[in-house]
């Protein structure tokens, strides 16, 4: 299945591309050509009206106001995209919908190119991250770690292990790096563990973040370019509940202020590109990233180097 996009805003386009591989994992997809069209954009609406009877279009909006057969609700979420792909794969396998009409080459209407997955890209579905992204209540066993109970409805993970996300031990790191083939899962309901008093409770976000950070190993999520895609952090991650080190705090400080490529970030901060990529992936998976190709203002710093050195000496004293 080849899905192109039309009239999507930058953020939506990148989120769509990045989530597509994850959502398509495990589905048998046919060789259909589809176009995801943002019908809330003037251009997209025009395109929809002109082509919806002759091409296979997926309407993208907050509401299905055009009563489209294929519809993806805004904002893009993995679970919704997965349901749509499932529906598309089932339908296209049984009763093909209108055959796609090739797009006239002279009309540059389709913006994106077919999605190609680079060999070294990070595919969350191959790791523990993919299990968390399914939003299913399950019990996980992996890497000799105590069972982990995931309850998405309560936004919680529970385990008998007291985890300090600031200082993971090697056993915990191994668990967070676990590949899908090493993971056993069992279905779970909240009632199964309701009477347990020996469990520590953590936000799912802490685990989603940790598994992505630990298993990325310098490989970037699909659809993002190290030296072309400019990104911005929507807000500071809550580091108090997330695995982090000082490099991540420094990256957050610059990423909330400036729209930069991952390569520029590594250059400016002198932080290894692998660390920058791992951090980016974790931020992306926890929905903290905004794609922003605008040029950031390069205002003169309001702080002096003297202030910075005082803060550093405070930290030296405290750490």
């Amino acid at each position: 299945m080849n899905i192109s996009t039309y009239a999507l805003e930058n953020d939506d386009k990148f989120f769509f591309i990045a989530m597509l591989t994850m959502a398509a994992n495990g589905l048998e997809l046919s060789e259909k050509d589809l176009i995801l069209v943002d019908i809330e954009q003037a251009e997209g609406k025009k395109f929809w009206l002109k082509y919806h009877t002759e091409k296979q279009l997926i309407a993208f909006a907050y509401e299905n106001m055009v009563d489209a057969t294929w519809f993806l609700e805004k904002p893009i979420q993995l679970a919704k995209l997965k349901s749509l792909l499932k529906l598309l794969s089932q339908t296209s396998n049984k009763q093909p919908i209108v055959e796609p009409t090739p797009i006239v080459e002279s009309t540059p209407i389709v913006e994106s190119t077919p999605i190609v997955k680079p060999n070294d890209s990070f595919d969350p579905s191959l790791f523990l991250t993919g299990v968390f992204l399914k939003h299913e209540a399950i019990c996980i066993k992996a890497a000799n770690f105590a069972p982990l109970y995931i309850l998405p409805e309560q936004n919680s993970c529970l385990t008998t292990v007291d985890i300090n996300f600031r200082h993971l031990n090697s056993e915990q790191k191994q668990f967070f790096e676990a590949e899908i083939s090493q993971i056993e899962t069992e279905s779970l309901t909240a009632d199964d563990i309701a009477t347990r008093s020996d469990l520590y409770k953590y936000p799912i976000e802490s685990f989603l973040w940790a598994t992505t950070l630990c298993s990325s190993k310098g490989s970037l999520l699909n659809g993002i370019s190290v030296d072309e895609t400019k990104i911005l952090l929507k807000q500071w991650p809550d580091f108090s509940i997330l695995v982090h080190d000082i490099a991540h705090i420094r990256l957050a400080a610059i990423m909330v202020r400036r729209s930069l490529t991952l390569k520029s970030l590594a250059d400016r901060t002198q932080i290894p590109i692998e660390t920058v990529v791992n951090f980016f992936n974790a931020c992306f998976i926890t929905q903290l990233i905004e794609i922003n190709n605008n040029i950031s203002d390069e205002n003169e710093s309001i702080y002096s180097s003297e202030q910075h050195s005082i803060f550093k000496s405070i930290l030296n004293k405290l750490e």
Partner: protein, 175 residues
């Protein structure tokens, strides 16, 4: 020797005195009085003038740690304490009845300073799960045009206070 000052402000009972104690090398000097009004049901005494702690840096300079009084009736002390501060830490008690209003009070009052010195927000007592989720605090700041770090913290934990100072340091480095 110059005065290097870090200020902890925030709602009553948010943990300002505790946070200063977590990193001060001297016992925190405070000026507690009996709490009055509605707040008295939550805390018997509160800081009247300020909390004060110290940390001697390697070059001999002293970092002075000041905590503002939490109750609004002692607001007259706030401008005195904030003057010349290197950084500001705002603590909000998540288990208080209106934590977002509390945050708004301190953001509005210190807005001019926030524009000039690095500022971080620490939300305490999140474990009680009584207050808004962390996103609601961010949403409020975004409406105010601010992108400050917000961390769920335990004011008793030295690591948590260090995290806030690490964020202040990074903000100064990459402003």
């Amino acid at each position: 020797m110059k005065e290097i000052k870090l200020v902890f402000t925030g709602s009553m009972g948010a943990g300002k005195t505790t946070a200063i104690s977590a990193i001060s090398e001297i016992p925190v000097i405070n000026t507690d009085v009996r709490t009055i009004g509605e707040d008295a049901q939550y805390k018997k005494t509160t800081t009247a003038a300020m909390d004060y702690g110290e940390l001697t840096l390697d070059d001999g300079n002293k970092l002075r740690l000041y905590g503002t009084p939490g109750q609004e009736r002692f607001q007259y002390m706030w401008p005195i304490i904030i003057k010349g501060a290197l950084g500001l830490i705002i603590l909000v008690d998540d288990a208080n009845s209106h934590p977002l209003k509390d945050l708004a009070l301190f953001i509005n009052y210190f807005r001019d300073h926030i524009n000039k010195i690095p500022t971080v927000v620490g939300i305490t007592r999140r474990d009680l799960e009584q207050g808004p989720n962390i996103q609601e605090y961010h949403d409020y700041l975004h409406k105010e045009g601010l992108k400050l770090p917000i961390f769920s913290i335990d004011a008793r934990q030295r690591d948590n206070i260090i995290l806030m100072i690490q964020a202040l340091t990074a903000m100064v480095e990459f402003n």
